[in-house]
């Protein structure tokens, strides 16, 4: 028997006050329905200033919907959101947000039917703080042909042009939807280098959605893993690397305490069913700063994903006669564990 549970001791919409301090983007308990499809269900998210922050998650988990909400392309059904302290649901505030934000869509779309130079000129006219020297620098670096029609550019070249017009407006926030998707490795590398360089040199904040975990690990400061329209894990990557651990628990073959529990109880405070009294006992003893993010149970073995005092959790199981090992969790594994289909 295999069971998967995603657990968090904080309620989905709950954020610590410290999370909000210095935040550029704050979304609180946002719901969005597209027809019969629920795109977001209680999404809460904070993005700190001056960081590269990644939204991770499987297709259809609500990443793009989240980015569109921030840009005022969609309105939430309920919940609130602010960017630069401005309300994203308010049309006037939304225009002000877009004045300070650059956006690169997944398809790297720009004005249709125009050439590179005209595209740049038209966008330049809308932004009084346009950085002409950066424009020249990026034009040279990206080797963009000014008279080439945008429609005739490769996806990589279109991505570079989209990044150029997003950056040269001196945006304080860049929102990038799958920025390196469909790009060859060289173009993706150049794009990442440009982004990292700009964040290092300016106060720029970058919020990107991506499937490319190795890129996120290389460049992002923080990440939120989304699943089914809500954030299941959120934090700085360094903190996640240091504090999230996979705890492998193995019971002796004749110990039936795990498998014998047919009726799930509920882990205290998490709202998640526990399939054994032992797990329930252990989670009841979790220190305050420790979250049980995920459990997978296979017969007499159990895998726990713990954020915080994993050693304390391990000791509790050892005290109950189990064999326990604690492992670091790469981002890729974390992503897969938290986003895999519910059994």
């Amino acid at each position: 028997m295999t069971s998967h549970q995603h657990t968090a001791r904080k309620a989905p919409g709950e954020l610590h006050d410290t999370d909000r301090r210095g935040a550029l983007i704050v979304l609180t308990d946002v719901y969005k329905q597209h027809g019969s499809t629920t795109a977001l269900q209680g999404l809460s998210l904070t993005v700190p200033r001056g960081a590269i922050f990644a939204l991770l998650g499987p297709n259809g988990c609500g990443k793009t919907t989240t980015l569109k909400l921030l840009l005022g392309m969609n309105r939430p059904d309920s919940g609130t959101g602010t960017v630069f302290g401005l309300r994203m649901e308010d049309e006037r505030d939304s225009v002000a947000i877009r004045q300070r934000t650059g956006f690169v869509s997944e398809t790297k779309e720009l004005f249709q039917g125009l050439d590179v130079a005209t595209t740049i000129r038209l966008v330049r006219d809308m932004y009084p703080r346009w950085d002409a020297s950066l424009e020249r620098e990026l034009l040279t670096r990206f080797v963009l042909p000014p008279r080439q029609k945008v429609a005739a550019l490769s996806k990589g070249m279109r991505a570079k042009l989209a990044l150029l017009v997003a950056c040269c407006r001196r945006a304080e926030l860049l929102i990038l939807d799958e920025p390196t998707d469909g790009l060859d490795p060289a173009a993706a590398e150049q794009m990442m280098e440009t982004l990292v360089g700009m964040v290092a040199e300016t106060e720029l904040t970058v919020l990107l959605s991506s499937h490319h975990l190795h890129e996120v690990e290389r460049m992002a400061d923080g990440a939120a893993i989304m699943r089914e329209g809500r954030v299941v894990l959120h934090g700085e990557l360094d903190e996640l690397r240091q504090r999230v651990r996979r705890v492998e628990v193995r019971f002796s073959a004749n110990d039936t305490s795990l498998a014998s529990s047919e009726t799930p109880s509920v882990i205290r405070g998490s709202g998640v069913p526990a399939h054994s009294d032992m797990l329930s006992d252990v989670t009841a003893l979790l220190p305050d700063a420790t979250d049980l993010l995920h459990t997978v149970q296979r017969g007499s073995a159990m895998t726990l994903l713990v954020r915080g005092e994993a050693e304390v959790v391990a000791q509790e199981f050892v005290a109950r006669g189990a064999q326990v090992s604690v492992h670091a969790v790469p981002l890729r594994e974390l992503f897969l564990l938290l986003t895999e289909a519910r059994a």
Binding site: L71, S105, G113
Partner: protein, 229 residues
């Protein structure tokens, strides 16, 4: 935004002028047949101008985004919506540019006909020509506005067909749309009484058409403002 909207529209305008020029060459190929001219200028040409307006309103919001929110399509709409412009302004600028382009096509075409065909100038007085233009333009404006509204909810193909069906079905029946036929029929010198009647009718019908077009445009703005992308 005006510049961008014009750049998006310009090739359609050029193409329409070329097509209208070819149509004009066919329409005015027989200088002797004044009755045929009247028939052509009274029915064929206004219909062509309306089709011009309907096509110019194409590539609207609905054809630029997926009908299923959340699905990604290759258009410039998301890029446009990411710019610091309200949707109201975005739609109104686009509609105003298209409406001006539609009227420009009408005027340029008719001026072109008059310049290219001296025999036409000989038959139609400047007053009648002006009344003809003044009676056609508001109807083209309505055709454009109907099409532009439909473009917010239908993709380009369906929008064009639906707009043609709507406009075509009313062209024959509504008094303002019959006006140009009256004008075209009145090629002989008009009495001042007839002229006053014609201009009064044109004025009232034109005002109604302009108000109706404005109402359709603001409805289109409302539709786009509520539309999820």
């Amino acid at each position: 935004m005006w510049h961008r909207a014009w750049i998006e529209t310009r090739w359609k305008v050029v193409l329409m002028l070329l097509v209208n020029g070819l149509i004009g060459a066919l329409l005015i190929d027989d200088p002797a047949s004044g009755a045929v001219w009247r028939q052509r200028f009274g029915t064929v040409l206004p219909m062509i101008f309306c089709v011009n307006g309907i096509v110019l309103a194409g590539s609207g919001v609905a054809s630029q985004v997926s009908q299923k929110p959340g699905q990604t399509v290759h258009t410039s709409m998301l890029f446009l919506l990411s710019l610091p412009i309200t949707r109201r302004r975005l739609v109104l600028v686009r509609q105003a540019t298209g409406a001006l382009a539609a009227m420009g096509v009408v005027l340029t075409t008719l001026i072109g006909y008059a310049v290219a065909a001296p025999e036409l100038r000989a038959v139609v007085s400047p007053g009648i020509a002006l009344a003809y233009v003044a009676s056609v333009l508001p109807v083209v404006l309505v055709a454009y506005a109907v099409s532009a509204l439909l473009a917010t909810v239908l993709d380009q193909l369906w929008q064009t067909y639906a707009a043609m069906a709507v406009v075509g079905s009313v062209l024959g029946g509504v008094p303002p749309s019959r006006l140009w036929r009256v004008v075209v029929e009145a090629v002989s010198p008009l009495t001042s009484r007839q002229l006053t009647d014609i201009w009064t009718t044109i004025g009232v019908a034109g005002l109604v058409c302009i108000l109706f077009s404005a109402m359709l445009s603001f409805t289109a703005v409302g539709v786009v403002q509520r539309k999820p992308f």
